[in-house]
């Protein structure tokens, strides 16, 4: 094990949490674009639902991979995740407000809420993971 904690943090191989989360975010963004392209008409929900489901599955996979990490800077991760989650919940709420204001309702609104929820978790997750992976010491004492 390296005596230099910075070098140890740099050299660690971690599961691809960031890659999976960004892929999840990309799927949700594509689903959002598909839905927005139909406004003000009612959009077909099949493709956006499939994209949202795939996005949710990738987000879940990255959470599971993250949860299996034994030695990780969890205190730093949760501190960053909490504040980022607050910021992105505000952002998601604003987008949701715009859809409600424009009379989106029923199935399309439910799907928009699901996509916004994935977005509001994905971004804080990738931010907190990126910060925590370079924390010194590279893991929280348990």
């Amino acid at each position: 094990m390296s005596a230099d904690p910075a070098a140890a943090a740099r050299g660690r191989r971690l599961p691809p949490v960031d890659v999976l989360t960004v892929a999840s975010l990309a799927l949700v963004v594509v689903g959002g674009i598909l839905m927005a392209s139909y406004v003000p008409r009612r959009p077909p929900l099949a493709a956006p639902s499939a994209l949202a489901a795939a996005g949710a599955a990738l987000a879940l996979a990255s959470v599971l991979l993250l949860a299996r990490l034994q030695r990780f800077a969890w205190d730093r991760f949760f501190a960053v995740f909490g504040w980022a989650l607050l910021a992105y919940l505000v952002s998601a709420a604003m987008i949701g407000f715009a859809f409600i204001r424009d009379h989106t309702s029923g199935g399309p609104l439910a799907l928009v809420v699901v996509m916004l929820a994935i977005y509001a978790v994905d971004v804080p997750l990738v931010i907190a993971f990126t910060v925590a992976r370079y924390a010194s010491p590279p893991y929280s004492p348990r």
Binding site: A6, L25, V30, G32, A36, R101, D122, V126, I127
Partner: protein, 203 residues
Amino acid sequence: MADTEPLQAGTVATAQRPARPAVQVVPLRGLPVVAVVVALVVAAIAGNWMWALTFCHVVGGGLWTALDLFLGLVLGPILGRLSVPARAEFAARFMPKMVLIMPTLVLMTLAAGFQLALREGNLAPGNPNHAWLIASYCVVGVMAVIALGVLEPANIAVLFEMRKQRPDGEVIARLMRRFLYTAGVTGAMQVATLIIMTRVATQ
């Protein structure tokens, strides 16, 4: 000369200046300004307030595009040629501001723009601007994934690194490389946005 003193491997030199700037990840003094902008956007959407929607979209979009192009094409290459300590000091002062400025501009531009397009009837399938707006969604989608999934995490991680007693120059350089790699894509997307928006405004 202080600037040519050898650096300890892997660390940003901190001893060459008496006081390293304290790094605040989120500049709290800027939060009231963000709150005012968000309140303006919400009021504009809630009231379908034409002037405010146009103001938010044009001002936000203009600043967003200009900042992105300036940072990617002008400032970025200059920063890439600076020494690691110089880059680190610049980042410590500059990046906290970007943590507030960019998301606020993006939110202002997109939320107001979508509402404006809806109000003007540009989203109707028969409207000549409809296809251009779908293209702009795609452009914005690419930029959103890059900004939210790649650049913002790097920006915040750099700021946390800068807060350490001995920031690791290699980590900062590794994270900052993301800005260089994505500058071309972001620049191309912003030029596409300028073309699309000027088409939409003149059809």
